[in-house]
């Protein structure tokens, strides 16, 4: 089963995105913690894209798809922003975050811990972040 959702790049829309993911997954899964982890991962990726790739411009949008299979969930978040190269991402240490008083940097750490696979795919037309969770 595939479900789709599109949101404008305003941080105010994050709550609606979480609601879409939560309601979609609630119809298929019972594990509250698994659903929470997928909601969290999508929220983090969308917040990053809205802020860093789209400067929170509500004229731009991101598209989500949730593909629910028997033993896995694949969530794709597609946009046409600057793109993100995960190879260039260096995970900060917790100490760096405390000492440098960085308020960011924790989001992708969470996403990588709660999902089984995180991929960033860049093509000439769009960027896709693909999140997978297996059961």
């Amino acid at each position: 089963m595939q479900y789709n959702y599109s949101a404008q790049c305003s941080k105010k829309n994050l709550a609606e995105i979480r609601k879409f993911i939560s309601e979609t997954l609630n119809n298929h899964f019972n594990s509250e913690i698994d659903i929470h982890h997928m909601v969290l991962a999508v929220d983090e990726v969308c917040a990053n894209l809205m802020i860093h790739s789209h400067n929170c411009n509500p004229k731009e949008s991101i598209d989500l798809s949730v593909d629910i299979k028997k033993h896995e969930v694949i969530i794709e978040i597609k946009d046409t922003g600057h793109g993100f190269n995960i190879k260039n991402y260096q995970e900060p240490t917790i100490n760096e975050i405390i000492v440098e008083k960085k308020k960011g940097g924790l989001g992708l750490m969470l996403v990588k811990r709660v999902m089984d696979k995180v991929e960033f795919i860049k093509s000439s037309k769009s960027n896709i972040c693909r999140l997978k969770k297996s059961f």
Partner: protein, 113 residues
Amino acid sequence: MITIETNTEEDFYIIKVSGEIDASSSIYLDNKIGEIIKSEKKILVDCNDLQYISSAGLGVFMSYIHEMEEEDIKMVLFGLGNNVKNVFHILGLDQLINMVETKEDAKSLVDAI
């Protein structure tokens, strides 16, 4: 999104955070903590009605750890639901930020640390 209410009990300053802390709403919590640490030394954060927290909220709490240590300000979170507690736990931040079950526990801990 989020509601922030404050009150005092004895010499404790209590911030009650309700709703969802995400990249959109975390600024309100950030502003409130930034404001009160100028005058308060014993801060309790009531999370009983906090439904959700993302990394933006974690980042707010993390960003004050250093300053609070330097200024001898004590902060304890209490009443966290499972989902909220889990987000701190995933990154091991429950080892860096004080969190307990009840307000009374929080008061005792603030006085002990």
